[in-house]
């Protein structure tokens, strides 16, 4: 079923909307939440919560891209759970690894004058990601937005795992330089 048709089901308040959402986007949501949390049970709970949120959000919202919309909600819920359970740095999944990697992207705290507004950071990162080649964009987003494993990314993009890691490493370095250059701290 097309995303637009699923959205219409939400607007019609048809429960099939959730079933269809799950059919189409459920597996990927689980993949994202599992990547963050490393627990299947927690992952399922997040996905269930996601559908609740989506059900409550549509209407009035009418997302252009249902998949991205659902995954974004799912990701946020998983991250909240991740933090709530204090599993940061010690939990399963790739969450803790990704957090470690993220620290490499960030400018040294004293290298810029002040902490930037979230919106400024977001705009800067978006601009940075857009400046990357398509492949690098995908690798970056798969890792840090979707919390995917390097092996999974490599498999998806039909490239070697080593290339994924190398690209991530270089991209992190570039991002740090870019943020420093822009004078943005997080």
């Amino acid at each position: 079923m097309k995303d637009s048709e699923i959205i219409e089901l939400y607007f019609a308040r048809s429960e099939d909307a959730i079933t269809e959402t799950n059919k189409k986007h459920g597996s990927f949501c689980r993949s994202v939440t599992f990547g963050i949390l490393g627990s299947r049970e927690d992952s399922e709970e997040c996905v269930s919560d996601t559908y609740m949120n989506v059900w409550n959000a549509i209407p009035p919202k009418r997302p252009d891209r249902l998949g991205a919309f659902v995954v974004r909600i799912c990701r946020n819920i998983a991250l909240n759970l991740f933090k709530a359970r204090n599993t940061l740095k010690s939990g399963g999944g790739y969450g803790s690894v990704v957090f470690d990697e993220i620290s490499e992207c960030l400018p040294a705290p004293d290298s810029v004058e002040s902490t930037a507004e979230a919106n400024a950071v977001l705009k800067a990162v978006e601009a940075f990601v857009r400046s990357l080649s398509r492949e690098k964009q995908q690798i970056f987003m798969h890792r840090y937005y979707y919390f995917r494993s390097c092996a999974g990314i490599a498999d998806d993009l039909h490239i070697s795992e080593a290339k994924v890691k190398m690209t991530l490493k270089r991209t992190r370095e570039k991002l740090r330089e870019y943020l420093e250059k822009e004078g943005i701290d997080v």
């Binding site: 597996s27 490393g38 399922e44 991205a68």
Partner: protein, 815 residues
Amino acid sequence: MTREERFIEILGGMDEMLVAETMPSYRNEKYKADKKSMIEIIPEKPDKKAVRRYWLTRIAAGAAALIVLAFAVPLICSILEEQYQKTYIDAATTTFAASENDDTATLYVPDIIPEELLALTMPSKTVDGKCLRLVCDEAQLTEGGSPVCNTRDARVEIADTATGQAIASAQLLTRDDTFEWERGIELKLAKNRRNGYWGLVFMPLDSGEYMMTPYVFTADGSFDFDPYGMRTVGSLDDVTFWDVDGGAAGIKIKGEGNFGLSDTVVTYDDNTPYDRLYRGVPAENIRVDCDIEGTDLYASVRLNEITVGEDYSYVVRSAENATVTIHPKNGDGELNFGEEMLVTKGYEKNNWVLQFDTKGSFNVIAHTLDAENFDSKMAVILVGVPLYKRFAVTVYAYNGRQLERIRDLFIETEQPLESIVSDGKGGLTYHDIYTGDKSIVLDLEHFTYTDRLSGEAEEAAVQLRKFAESGNGFAYPIDAGGGLNTLRYKGDNTFTVTPEMYHRDVYAITDGEVQEIGCTNGYGNYMIVKETNGTGTWVYSGLYCDYYCAEGQSVVAGEAIADAVDEITIMYNKPIEHIPYENPMILPDESAVEVTEGEPSPPESLSEFSADNSRTRRYLELAKWWSDTHNNDYERYKVGEFLDSLGVDGLKELYFKGYFLNSITVTDDLPTANGGVGNARITVPVADRTYKYFPTGYTYESFRKAWLGVFTEEWANTLLNQHSEVYCKYGDELYCLPAAAGGDLTLVHIDYLLQTQTDDEIVFLSKCYHVKLGEDPVYDEMQNDKYTVSYNKYRIVRTDDGWRIAFSDTFYHWR
């Protein structure tokens, strides 16, 4: 909230379009396996509590069902135990399998799942009270009843066999998402000579071979896999530990030989592309000591963290891991009197690779120099590293106080290192089979050398002098000790230096002062040229450029020059004079010409060649068409537009005439009169080759006149000289040789900078951004670093005959 958390949270707000564009194609088959369960019943009005209640109900029902079916567990276990002799059961976890059916997405409770099998452990043999074990917390059963584990649910542990407690745990590394327990996974453990352990995990492959992953447990308690030690082995018997006194020194792989394992834990962050197994150098690092005669010192070269490349050459990937040190003979070797990085021609900054063939001998020798003014401990240390068929010898000097690499003093020789000997005067001599004896003079007091490879320097000086005398300049190859460099004069005291071993130009703009070096990529030996202002003195020097010179980093250039100028000074005390070329086109001795395949054109049938023709106009139209239809910048058209904007009539047409003339020198698009060429072919000996020329139907003189109508005589000659073999005069007719040229770049953007515009002269620069053919020819300012950038300079002057192009990079083929 930590900064990392905040950052991740901020990422969550990324533009939906970007998120959607980069979303994995997850409706892929492989994701179906993740669809482990899904609620079947959607509450009428879904709410969180209802969903949780639903789950709890189902889980309770499932648990009840398992209890009922528990009678079957012993039977299943006994069957599986027989099947999997190596499977140990030591834990129980309750979980559920789920339907693979995407359509119904119902929670599926299998008929029987023996709880005990859901968590599996497989230990290795016990070694010194410890074992390596593979643990899977959530195994599942296939339809055929085989336990299957997701790789991410498994881990490798080193455990105390007495207590069963894990000492350390690491992720299981395989090349598959899942693995089957029944296929004969093998684990091996050995104590190594570093008071740690090496473990090997063998995962069976469909081919019948095994994927072997080494694990390292160090004496300090860290434990992890070594991803770069992964390799396919034919069978389990092919791999055995290589036991020597004190423990395992490595592994032996049948048919491949002995390998050492890394002694430290390797993580994914170390993105080394090389195999981390050390061939033949297991637990020992390479160290070569050399007695410095007359002293109580050794010169020593140490190579640590050696890896082995696919070609079985040694590779050292970090500067810190390849050092030259001075230490006492009778000491413990740790006392260090001086240390320098070992540098060879394989040097690359930021990606330091010292690589050499294991078949060659790696050696170090030291000479104690006893010349006057030299400290008694003064020594010259030569480190020879095999380089292809030669040695690359790097020279270091030690004066009792400090050790220093003599900058850039590499020697390539086919002779043994010992053939380089002290001359007793503070220098070294060696025999070069190509150029005879050469002397290297070292000023050890200051640790600088006053001359280097003097033969080459002299040769370069001669070339430079020739260039200066010519006043026009063109390419001269100069070996700067690190590869063939090409020095080209660009006019206006500006040079281009192209290190032929690398791809990018280095600009050494020397209009009195060095202004910029733009080595956009790569590192290596470059030549720098400088004119000291106003004296007519030329200074040139070799420079080892180990900087990353981004565009405009004149500071780097300045520093480099400051170093380099002290090194070699060649005086040229004569002002540059303009000495025009003779006609560069070939005027062969007609007696040497052999006419083949037909008759030459009769003189009366020849036409007058002109650059103002339909072809030129077609280029104009084509350029505009290209620019319009491809929605991007087109260099030719843009140059024309730019020239139009200068408000000088006729410049655009002049440029396109030049473009036309230039194009026919490099393509097989022959200029021909009357729609075709005659039928004669002539063969002409040129140097040591013979060329076959085609008649053009044009007079030779008209062709040359056309060039002089567009370019200054000097520049026309320069351009034609590049392709002197392309044109030939026979009788009165122009004969032509089909040439071929082509590039693999597409220009996507061009910037201009007008430098000079007077009544008599226009000078402008262009900066062109290219992508490779086949790449999306769209310019994006944010991605400036991804483009291949070229710089072009144009100079147009007013002569008595009108405007002429006096200089144009784009017409001159620098490479």
